[in-house]
Symmetry: C2
Subunit: 360 residues, 2 copies
Amino acid sequence: MKLTDQYKAAKYKFQGNGPRSIDTLKEALNSIQEDRFADLYGKGEIIEEFEKKFAVILGKESAVFMPSGTMAQQIALRIYADDKNNKKIAYHPLSHLELHEQDAIKILHGLETVLLGEPNRLFTIKDLMSVEENVGTLLIELPQREIGGYLPALNELEEIIEYARSKNMYTHLDGARLFESLPYYEKSPAEIAAYFDSVYISFYKGMGAVAGAVLAGKKDFIDKAKIWKRRHGGDLISLYPYIIAANYYYEKRKGVMSKFHEEAIELAKYFNDLPAVCTTPEIPMTNMFHVHADFSSDQLEKIVSKIFSEFDVSIAGGIKKIDEKTSKFEISIGEEFSKIPKELLKQVFGRLNEYIKVRS
Amino acid sequence: MKLTDQYKAAKYKFQGNGPRSIDTLKEALNSIQEDRFADLYGKGEIIEEFEKKFAVILGKESAVFMPSGTMAQQIALRIYADDKNNKKIAYHPLSHLELHEQDAIKILHGLETVLLGEPNRLFTIKDLMSVEENVGTLLIELPQREIGGYLPALNELEEIIEYARSKNMYTHLDGARLFESLPYYEKSPAEIAAYFDSVYISFYKGMGAVAGAVLAGKKDFIDKAKIWKRRHGGDLISLYPYIIAANYYYEKRKGVMSKFHEEAIELAKYFNDLPAVCTTPEIPMTNMFHVHADFSSDQLEKIVSKIFSEFDVSIAGGIKKIDEKTSKFEISIGEEFSKIPKELLKQVFGRLNEYIKVRS
């Protein structure tokens, strides 16, 4: 059985809010008793109330709901590039825009990217200061997902933002996991977003809604973003299926991010106690981390599958090959983790320890 | 009360499938008893089965579900432009791409448009033959919505397509209302789509689903379209809310388009019997038509509002000013029309006749 299918089938799961299924939407929709009029091309109570609510939560003048972060962030960067007449965007080498968007920022919008620092760590102010090009916009992702969810210290973030402002750059926050970052910073979303000219947030990571994003910033910026949303084909006649779910799961899960963070720390410790295994970060800064193992992806998949067969526990929904001898997987703590009995967790790691010793 | 609010409030409505509301989605979702796994970035049974089904319905090798027609059509035209290294796209002056997409085809994709014929009529083969530019792709909208829903005769369509092919143009069908056109042609969707290299269809016009579109064509074309869907930000983690509704309402309403067409003919006749009023087309070719009146939009709105107050009937959800003395509105027949008792319909037009005579 494939690891993705094991995840769906397993009674217990290390990560996530459970398999994505249509009941997620049914639960949200059925929470609304009365019938409500649909939003129509960005107008109507459902979408306007939601956008106002998140403008306030994020401490910005205005906000717009977008079908995806891919759309929201390209639009933000394009507006800034046009405004400054400067096509140069700086971000981390493993930014979502660099890895997962089919080079849209370059091919669709004609922008140019400047990669900051090394792929395996956060970029620093030194990396930014060493850039020779005249950068128009700086994008910072909090946390940096592709390296396991690292967050810069708040004073480091402040330094970077201050430098970027001194160089007349726009600053945009890729806050796909902003709410997941708040327990570490002990700040409100608005306090973190205040460092940036604009912020994008997502609703289907820790929140576990269906899809969708919010982009927030100054009023004239959001007015322009709505025009670009139409251009991208994102101004659907009705977006209420995503908005209702986003609102429902935001209210349901906004209070549990600290718990998810603590559980990530607990689980990472278990992994770090194993031989030939370590996590990045060693102590998770959010609800997520990466588990690195000195095994080939085939070897690691076999071990994970044996645990599934023996304990009905899914450790990983997929494994990524790093090289012939090492591999990794990602954990994002959601509602599933706390369903695992503590005794079972100990048994699983006891058995993992045995398997790893045999193979090491 | 605004006309849009009258439409929502009125017991009887000339047009549409009723106010768009969240119950539309609830009805579709609740038709699925068991839980089903969500689609994930274009993969999974829900989306793949649906795409295969519509590839067959449209007689094409492959199909992809898109969040919107705006996205689907820009993508189709961009693929053809890149393939031919020819940025020139020809279409009707009132194409959706020209009027309602914030010039995305030009600003986002850098394509150039050639407008065929006059705004107030279908373009003909003569219009196409008189184009001096070397056009790469021809887009035809069936029916031409902005002039009331005209359709070319099938032999005229054949001539146009034959000429376009002889000039090595790609041909794309804007089939936003393709299913609404089939009773007139007495053809299957695949038979009409067969004239074209690719076709886009919509699910929230006559079908009355929530949102969404399908783009269909050759396999390599659709493979490219999926990459562009990602670039546009349309490859959402899950599109099932729209897909489930599209499938449900397609099955519910695919058989009623002939009835809607006949009812449009019936209602248009009522309007054409009024003084100072005519419809385009005079005899509707689909479920839609436009009603033109020799009144200012203010005058016409007052008449429509009086009918609402008196009979609890919404004639129009909005009125468009043409000039100081003339105005128009659009009728698209849906499930609401047949709910109006015939006797009431006669009374409404009797009263309209009185109002118009007084003012003429």
